[in-house]
Symmetry: C2
């Protein structure tokens, strides 16, 4: 049994996964931190960041369950390097996530520049994939074994994965804020538009968690259909 | 006691309240009907449209409650006339909603062309307001007495009302579809961005109902603050 491919991201009411004018100090752009405010206090957020304590409860359990289910992560180059800006052309950066990134599993980074894998402390290895998103998802699938592959962002990577019919499930954390600009989710999806089925909604004071099954997308390219027995 | 000003609209996952290329036959644009599929079968939708039967249950109750609470409606000119197109320059149209529109209460239409109120069958009167959104909301407030004013769309009217600090509550019906283009909600909100508080979420198979209190918007222009007793 293979796992699912899940796209998970926090998004504003006006559809942005990052605000305008990102900088290295503020890689999520103006106001972008508000997208993640709901998570900062949770035990399941604090623990992988090496922080003690934190809240438990339904939000925490949802995040913890996502972490448990995920075997490997796919992300765009800017999510690795810390947003958009001059530094993103430094192809030898160790990324924006510090010596011990909070992932603790293999992370496949989409890039145009080949380089050796980067082994960080705490179980995170950044693997750089130069031959496209489908290939990155296939590599992540192999690394994840029976667990899920998480497409973590940015908007471009998620849009590409949805457009290619590679996403089984979408998990949105809908934050009750407007950002007014930035990186908008779904703008790059097409030309065929998938449909979604609501599979789970979790109400919470600071965010609404929305889980969808992706249906009606085109057949996924990289994964052969099971064939009937001869 | 005066009622609230509520902006209520169905919106796609990618933030559109109508799809691309609206026509008089398809005023909600390509794919736009999908935004309202969740409602078509409900008793509370069918009844005001003069149709028998329909489903009851939590979705129906939410819609029925919104109808009961609403005393008057504000809408943009295109929502009155049936979308964007040559016909919208016909300033004597009786609108797109038929002889007996489904509103059954006063509807204040934003327009640049003064004309007499249009009394329709079944209790709907279209009143044409030429001096702007704030004035339309004030007129609607007077007509609604202690009931709520509903800002029903389009995106422009809702964005303007939010920007002016005139909206107390936002009720989104989030449909699990992408439209890929059309009229996007929130694009015209600014320059100040309000914050929202999640007050109620109702999960349903075809839609997610999200109710927000609007907070942190600028002081409403048209409504004096209560003053302390001298």
């Amino acid at each position: 049994m293979t796992g699912k491919v899940v796209a998970e991201v926090s998004v504003s009411l006006d559809g942005y996964v990052a605000g305008p004018n990102p900088t290295l100090e503020q890689p999520l752009g103006k106001g972008g931190d508000q997208l993640h405010e709901w998570a900062f206090g949770l035990k399941s957020f604090r623990e992988p960041h090496g922080l003690p304590g934190g809240e438990t409860g339904p939000d925490d359990e949802l995040v913890a369950e996502s972490l448990r289910a995920t075997g490997a992560i796919v992300m765009g180059r800017r999510m690795f390097s810390g947003g958009e800006g001059p530094w993103e052309n430094d192809h030898n950066t160790d990324g924006w996530w510090g010596d011990e990134p909070p992932f603790h599993k293999p992370v496949f980074v989409l890039t145009h520049h080949a380089r050796e894998p980067l082994v960080m402390e705490g179980g995170t290895t950044f693997v750089f994939v130069t031959n496209g998103l489908e290939s990155a998802i296939e590599d992540a699938r192999a690394a994840a074994a029976e667990k899920d592959v998480l497409v973590a962002g940015g908007a471009d990577a998620i849009d590409q994965a949805i457009s290619a019919g590679l996403v089984d499930e979408l998990l949105l954390h809908l934050a009750p804020v407007l950002l007014g600009g930035g990186a908008r989710l779904f703008d790059g999806v097409g030309p065929e538009l998938p449909r979604f089925e609501v599979t789970h909604v979790l109400e919470s004071p600071l965010v609404t968690h929305l889980r969808y099954r992706v249906v009606g997308a085109k057949r996924r390219g990289g994964r052969p259909e099971p064939t009937a027995a001869p």
